[in-house]
């Protein structure tokens, strides 16, 4: 191809002006020049765009287009040309095509060029556009193609090829144009002259030279455009490839990979699986039309098919079983099965008649009856074992006989129990404080059950505790026995159940009295302060105990005053302030004064009150009864602070007796320590350890070994030298000063490197493991068949990648989803 500079572009026009006869040919050259020109400009840009090749064949194709173009321009319709140009500019870029100028000529030219290179279907759109423009041109030409015949004739005369018939290689795409423009069509119109045509041509060329600058301008835009296109294409490609993500992930995580992963006719299988599993992902649900025109998805169909298959399978199995059972002739089997059947029928009847009460009751009765029967029969001589014993005369041996007897005895017990259970009508089950022991003795039926017994036990314990508490109080509070009475009365008022306790009648009377009293109290005006205090106490939770303690402590010095003594116990509040309660306390004091000094008692009473207040506010249980202050005070009172904790004298024990609540632990602890000390009297661990360390240091330190051979050198005779006395070998060890534990007091560090174990120790924790423990765990369980079962061994030794031998392992052909 001829390459001509841009400046030369106008030259052919001049030639055209000079000689109209040769115009056609010249124009043709001009076309070529233009074409090459455009290519030149294309090559001029050192871009990374696609090159356009133009071989010899291209010229041939070009000519066809040139002809048509020339014909089109012949009628001098500039406007139409103008219209065409922008059209072509807008055509989507196809590598080489869009690089060229926007003119129809070149577009069509390159189009044909590409056509000769056999462009595949992907370019069809661009082709279409180009085709349209070409067709348009040809149609125009076909309207007035008068001159065409002439040109053709002329060309024939000149011996030039007319190039109207495309070569066989040129695709059918050009053919429609050929169909439209026939020679007859062209012949029909013969009017316009060469002059007008050439002029029109010149105009057009001018126009094109103007248009060039525009194209050059747009090239910058094109580069950007290409860039954006690529980015978009890359995005799409990434997306496409990303579809494999799941497959890849699964393969990587798979414990075993068996190749080939897909069947050898990979594409087919993949298609099927793809349709089944990826159907909804890819292009909506692939649907199957049912008979009724309902649409099922493939998945649904598969599910239904599976369900049907399962049902069929179950039915078949049932059938087989029935057949087998039918064939059994054993009478025992029949008997057993008859019973089973009856039971099943019963259950069925029961289920049916669940709504009807009668049936239900009847069945229940039947069940009870049966259960009773069973219980009675179990420990009779009727069991298989018992019968065997009898039959084989084994009951002559003592052991068997004993067992038999034991069984019978148990049977009797059970029968008695059942009867007892029946006889005993459940009264009030809750045992009261005093009759708990009787209750345990009498326990039978439900009460004999474990959880009931436990509950009972718990209750009894609690009662006992509370009794203890009361007794302690009784002991501590010199004269408040009366108060306890009132307390119990109060309790009786609140808890109606207590009336079942022995002596309930009496207490009931007392309670009635106290109720009366309390009523009186209620009637009597209560000081506002007191009320407030009681409310506050009720509101405060256990958290406020400390403050209350403090309060009570503060109140101690003036505890004789009525306000301070009533502190915070709501019970006390009700009972104490009244004349009766107070009188009682006074009374008790006088009673108790025989046991303890009055001063002591006073103090203790105040203490006790405080303590009680705490208790009442708390859960009411024996919760926290240790109060350091108390202890200190008590010590102060007794005045034996110099008595060491290890010595328990009579007085101390006495005090302990008094303050059972909290102080028991401490002396016991001291006692324990003393005991331990005595038990390990001979051991001096520290000294032993030090000795051991010393020994280790010496052992591991430098050593001198006598390697003298006995008798060696002890020769006698004339001229014998005096033998060397000793051969001593020095073995270097670890310098005691350099030992790791040289400055550590209670530690011995082994300095010997264990060479043997080094061989079996990994230097560092290897890669996939994160901790030493993990790695060691992975080594723990042996693999071999000596240590585990066949299946385990197979599982543990199965290789990660298994390749079927002698098979082509094809790459995956579609992402699979199973």
């Amino acid at each position: 191809m001829v390459t001509v500079n841009k400046s030369d572009a106008k030259r052919p026009d001049v030639v055209a002006k000079k000689k109209l006869e040769n115009a056609l040919r010249q124009v043709e050259v001009a076309e070529n020049v233009d074409n090459s020109d455009s290519e030149d400009s294309f090559l001029g840009v050192p871009d990374d765009d696609v090159d356009e090749r133009s071989d010899g064949e291209d010229d041939v194709d070009l000519d066809i287009v040139d002809e048509s173009r020339v014909l089109a321009s012949g009628d001098g319709e500039d406007d139409s040309d103008d219209k065409d140009e922008p059209d072509d500019d807008e055509t989507p870029s196809f590598s080489g095509v869009s690089d060229t100028e926007g003119s129809t000529h070149l577009t069509t030219a390159t189009f044909s060029d590409i056509e000769s290179d056999s462009v595949p279907s992907d370019l069809e759109e661009e082709e279409d556009d180009a085709m349209k423009s070409l067709q348009k041109a040809i149609e125009k030409a076909s309207q007035k193609p008068a001159e065409d015949v002439i040109t053709i004739r002329k060309r024939r005369k000149l011996g030039l090829p007319t190039h109207f018939a495309p070569t066989v290689d040129d695709s059918e795409d050009v053919m429609p144009a050929k169909k439209k423009v026939t020679l007859d069509d062209i012949r029909a119109h013969t009017s316009s002259s060469f002059g007008t045509r050439s002029l029109a041509r010149l105009d057009e060329l001018e126009k094109r030279s103007k248009g060039k600058s525009e194209v050059v301008k747009s090239r910058l835009g094109r580069r950007l455009e290409v860039r954006v296109d690529r980015a978009a294409a890359y995005e799409i490609a990434k997306e496409e490839v990303g579809k494999w993500e799941d497959t890849v992930k699964r393969n990587r995580e798979a414990e075993h990979l068996e190749f080939p992963l897909q069947r050898s006719d990979g594409a087919a299988t993949a298609d099927i699986t793809g349709a089944l599993d990826l159907g909804d992902e890819l292009d909506g649900e692939k649907l199957v039309h049912g008979l009724e025109g309902r649409e099922f998805s493939l998945a649904e169909v598969a599910a239904r098919r599976n369900e049907l298959r399962r049902m069929r399978e179950l039915m078949f199995r049932e059938e087989m079983k029935a057949k087998r059972v039918k064939r059994i002739k054993s009478k025992t089997y029949r008997k057993i099965h008859k019973r089973e059947r009856e039971r099943a029928q019963e259950i069925a009847a029961q289920l049916e008649g669940e709504s009807g009460d009668e049936n239900n009751e009847g069945s229940y009765e039947r069940l009870v009856k049966r259960a009773r029967e069973r219980m009675e029969l179990r420990h009779k001589n009727t069991s298989d074992w018992a019968r065997d014993v009898k039959r084989m005369n084994l009951h002559k041996s003592k052991g068997t006989r004993d067992e038999l007897e034991q069984m019978l005895r148990r049977g009797e017990d059970l029968v008695r129990k059942i009867e007892g259970d029946d006889n005993e009508i459940s009264g009030d089950d809750l045992p009261s404080i005093n009759d708990d022991e009787e209750a345990t003795d009498e326990a039978s039926g439900i009460m004999a059950m474990k959880f009931m017994r436990e509950a009972e036990e718990r209750l009894r314990k609690r009662n006992k505790e509370s009794i203890d508490e009361l007794r302690r109080m009784e002991d501590g509070l010199d004269g408040e026995t009366e108060q306890e009475d009132t307390d119990s009365a109060v309790k009786i008022i609140n808890e109606g159940r207590r009336r079942y306790a022995p002596g309930a009648q009496k207490s009931k009377e007392a309670a009635e009295e106290s109720v009366e009293q309390s009523n009186q109290e209620d009637d009597a005006p209560v000081p506002l302060e007191r009320k407030m205090a009681s409310i506050a106490v009720k509101d405060a939770g256990p958290a406020s105990t400390i403050s209350k303690k403090l309060m009570s402590k503060k109140g101690e010095p003036r505890n004789d005053g009525p306000k301070s003594s009533k502190t915070s116990n709501p019970w006390m509040l009700d009972v104490e302030p009244g004349s009766v309660a107070k009188g009682a306390s006074v009374l008790s004091l006088s009673k108790e004064s025989t046991r303890f000094a009055k001063t002591e008692a006073k103090l203790k009473r105040s203490l006790k009150k405080a303590k009680k207040a705490v208790q009442a506010v708390g859960d009411g249980e024996a919760e926290v009864r240790i109060d350091i202050n108390q202890i200190l005070q008590v010590r102060d009172v007794h005045g034996d602070p110099d008595a060491g904790p290890n010595f328990v004298n009579v007085e101390d024990s006495h005090v302990m007796m008094v303050h059972k609540g909290g102080r028991r632990a401490k002396p016991a602890e001291f006692q324990q320590r003393e005991l331990v000390k005595r038990a390990f009297a001979g051991d001096d661990v520290v000294r032993e350890f030090n000795e051991e360390k010393q020994r280790t240091v010496e052992d591991e330190g430098d050593k001198e070994v006598d390697v003298t051979l006995p008798g060696w050198g002890s020769w006698t005779g004339k001229g014998v030298r005096k033998p060397q006395k000793k051969f001593i070998q020095k073995i270097e060890g670890i310098n005691p000063k350099n030992r790791q534990d040289a400055k550590l007091k209670n530690v011995i560090i082994n300095e010997k490197a264990v060479k043997k174990s080094a061989k079996y120790t990994a230097g560092a924790v290897p890669f996939p493991y994160e901790t030493r423990e993990q790695y060691e765990r992975s080594l723990r369980m042996p693999i071999g068949k000596q240590w585990s079962t066949q299946t385990t061994v197979q599982r543990l030794t199965k290789p990660k990648v298994i390749v079927k031998p002698g098979v082509v392992v094809e790459p995956l052909s579609a992402p699979f989803a199973t």
């Binding site: 290179d117 296109d229 690529r230 496409e240 079996y760 790695y775 042996p782 693999i783 543990l796 082509v808």
Partner: protein, 450 residues
Amino acid sequence: MKVKTLSRSSDVYLPARNCEVSRLPRNLDPELHPFERAREYTRALNATKLERVFAAPFVGQLGNGHIDGVYCIAKHTRRLNSAASGSGDGVIKYWDLSSREEVESFTAHRGIVKGLAVTLDGNLLSCGMDNTVKLWDVMNTDHSGGPSKTFLGSSGFTGIDHHRSNPVFVTSSNAVQLWDENRSKPTADLSWGADNVNTVKFNQTEQSIVASTGSDRSIVIHDIRSKAPVQKLVTLMRTNAVCWNPIEAFNFAAANEDHNVYLYDMRNLTRSLNVYKDHVSAVMDVDFSPTGQELVTGSYDKTLRIYRVNEGHSRDIYHTKRMQRIFCVRFTMDTKYIMSGSDEGNVRLWRADAASRSNVKSARERSKLEYDAALKERYKNMPEIRRISRHRHLPKPIKTASETKRIELASIKRKEDNMRRRSKKGTMPYAKEREKQIIGVAIREAENKG
């Protein structure tokens, strides 16, 4: 009185069928099998030693080789025992791998044969520096009439690869071109730059993706659906070959001139997924095992190395005294063997697993081998086992070269460290080993999003 006797049904110890091995009753009482760890360790050690004893990687060479160096190998994608090789003098030889004999030999090109590819129907496409791509009907042994088809190009071809399921192929020359087997001209031009393109490779799983490497140190990803290049990566040194992972559609390995092979994810080329080191000269070719678990590389240092995909160093190295610089390596399609073509003109066949034998094994032998493999895997980190399993005898030049390389790298590192120490903090960040080689990508993520 009933007397109890010992009785044992013969069902317990006799095989049900003749072909079965008689069952040995075992007692799994741990008392009877003490020291399990010590014993298994010893077994692992012995297995490792035996593996080294039995390691015989070299199977043999194919026929008598070529007269000139072998620069390309193509394996038949659907038959296990066929392969073709092309040499520097333009001769293509077709091999029967099972007999290791030459099936046929013909002069295909004037000058070097640069690429070979197998078509869908098992025919051979070859390309050479004589501007032609030729299609050979290898089923028909008579090649006196020349190729069954010739495709003419404008410049010498450097590489060729065929689509897995469509009758199209791509070539690399000064451009990357897409061809249809039924047309004489390329149907599309996929090239990005105007530079020379060295190799081109189809993705076998995501089949419309193509990767090519250019002499402008680039790796370009093309898409034949959009008929355009889509992404370009420029590295520090030239990439000699690429290979796509056959089971992971987006990953490919690139054999680089800088002695390393890099594993890339085509979706994100700003970093490599793995770096395969150990070669002491440029890596000329790389190929994935069909399982996608291993890759083999052939190098200019006259050795061939096998890597596990998720490890950074080779698990084995193959070499012979006479083998010269390796220009092409291929795994066979059953993953068991490796073919290598080298400068001195021989095509060699290697075992992919040096100690394995391909004979038919009894169940017992197979289970023993599996047990040994499991033990070796379990105790591979024990120092002695590690030492033995890693030990390879290397040719002196390679040994010294690797030593030198090690020293050089250490010295470079030391210098860098010194500079880093003396410069302002943060001015000399550490370069990531997996990103070191990358200069840039054409389409960045940010650009893509924006």
